[in-house]
């Protein structure tokens, strides 16, 4: 058996980058076919392939790390850099939508009535459900930190309980936000107010769902004894992502819900 003279991880050849790329092709072409020819077959196939690729790719990473021991300290450092860079790219993604919001709201055009919120728009009361949502996400930040400390102290039961509570709070946020969307007196088609509101909060909601899913996977792994008190980077990455989602919400709440009302 060949032995490498370095601590880095040379991965086995894998088909998932190819299937992922094909899935992206199918999803985007499928989107165009759906828009113009009313058939969802191609897009659905693309979506299924994307989900299967993600499942198998990340399953393989867990196999390589937890079962084969490839995640040595230098490798873990690389994974940390990777996650930080990814979250940074997401920050820039949201920055764009905040730019759009401030561009339109700081100097409202005559077409809007020269004011913000524009004439005819009844904004949501920031001290009702949006404030509850803020409290829910802040509480989930506390519970995820509790979970982290429990992992580091080797407290299995507490880790499982606090992680489950974090996920439940995430679902509660999503449910509340869905209800707000349904009950809102304005839609995405209501001028630039509707566009900026629903695109920014909508993408945030999507990130909450992604973050909750990531935490749920961590919960399953914790139950199956994958994490040790010293080595649990998968959980740390999920916690970082969750804190990022929380911070984005705070900016959204202050800018769009509160100042923008």
């Amino acid at each position: 058996m060949a032995h490498q003279a370095h601590a880095y991880h040379m991965v086995d050849p894998s088909p998932w980058p190819l299937t992922g790329a094909i899935a992206a092709l199918l999803m985007t072409s499928g989107l165009a076919i759906w828009f113009h020819f009313h058939s969802t077959m191609l897009m659905t196939l693309g979506l299924v392939l994307t989900l299967l690729t993600m499942y198998q790719w990340w399953r393989d990473i867990i196999r390589e790390g937890t079962f084969q021991g490839h995640h040595t300290p230098p490798v873990q450092k690389g994974l940390r850099y990777g996650m930080i860079l990814f979250i940074t790219s997401e920050v820039f993604f949201f920055l764009g939508f905040f730019w759009a919001f401030y561009h339109s709201s700081l100097a409202p055009t005559p077409e809007l009535g020269g004011c913000w919120p524009p004439t005819g728009i009844i904004p949501l009361d920031p001290f009702e459900v949006p404030l509850l949502n803020t409290a829910v996400l802040l509480a989930s930040g506390v519970t995820v930190t509790w979970a982290h400390h429990s992992i580091m102290e080797g407290e299995r039961k507490q880790t499982i309980q606090s992680l489950a509570l974090t996920i439940l709070l995430g679902f509660y946020f999503t449910a509340l936000q869905a209800m707000e969307y349904y009950e809102a007196p304005f839609t995405i088609a209501d001028g630039v107010y509707g566009s900026t509101f629903f695109v920014a909060t909508g993408f945030h909601g999507l990130h909450v769902i992604i973050g909750s899913t990531f935490l749920a996977v961590c919960l399953l792994r914790q139950i199956q004894y994958h994490f040790t008190s010293e080595h649990h980077f998968g959980f740390e990455a999920a916690a970082w992502y969750w804190h990022f989602v929380d911070v984005v919400w705070l900016f959204l709440y202050v800018s769009i819900y509160w100042w923008g009302s």
């Binding site: 058996m1 991965v11 086995d12 050849p13 894998s14 088909p15 998932w16 190819l18 299937t19 094909i22 899935a23 092709l25 199918l26 072409s29 499928g30 076919i33 113009h36 020819f37 077959m41 191609l42 196939l45 693309g46 299924v48 392939l49 299967l52 690729t53 198998q56 393989d60 196999r63 390589e64 937890t66 079962f67 084969q68 021991g69 299995r156 039961k157 499982i160 139950i223 199956q224 004894y225 994958h226």
Partner: protein, 130 residues
Amino acid sequence: MILSVVWLTILSTKMYYKVSGVTGKLTGATAASAYSPQGLKGTVPSQAPPIIFAVPTKVVSETGSVAHYMGINKVPELQMIFQKTDGAPVHLKRGVMDKMLYRTMMGLTIGGTLYCLMALYIVAQPRKPQ
């Protein structure tokens, strides 16, 4: 002068301290109580008291060494499976299930690519003028 005498006395003798149960602050203590604090005195008798029940209670060590909260640890077993030197890449390491899933994926991928290229070719044709 008096202060320096007091200071020298303090320096030359050892001081023992305890946390006062009344004020919660550090106060002076005797050497005896410092070396055998009340809290650490053995109050449990070294000999077990005689069993007074008819049926003796079960000893903890007989019930199993660890209380399994939500399942047992299967990681060592999985580590053995995935570290087998059979040359299989990690995405096929678990045998039949992996192979079936991989084949399904590849089938869908290649089939999907052909379907996509065909669909794009068809929609790229100009529509017949009405």
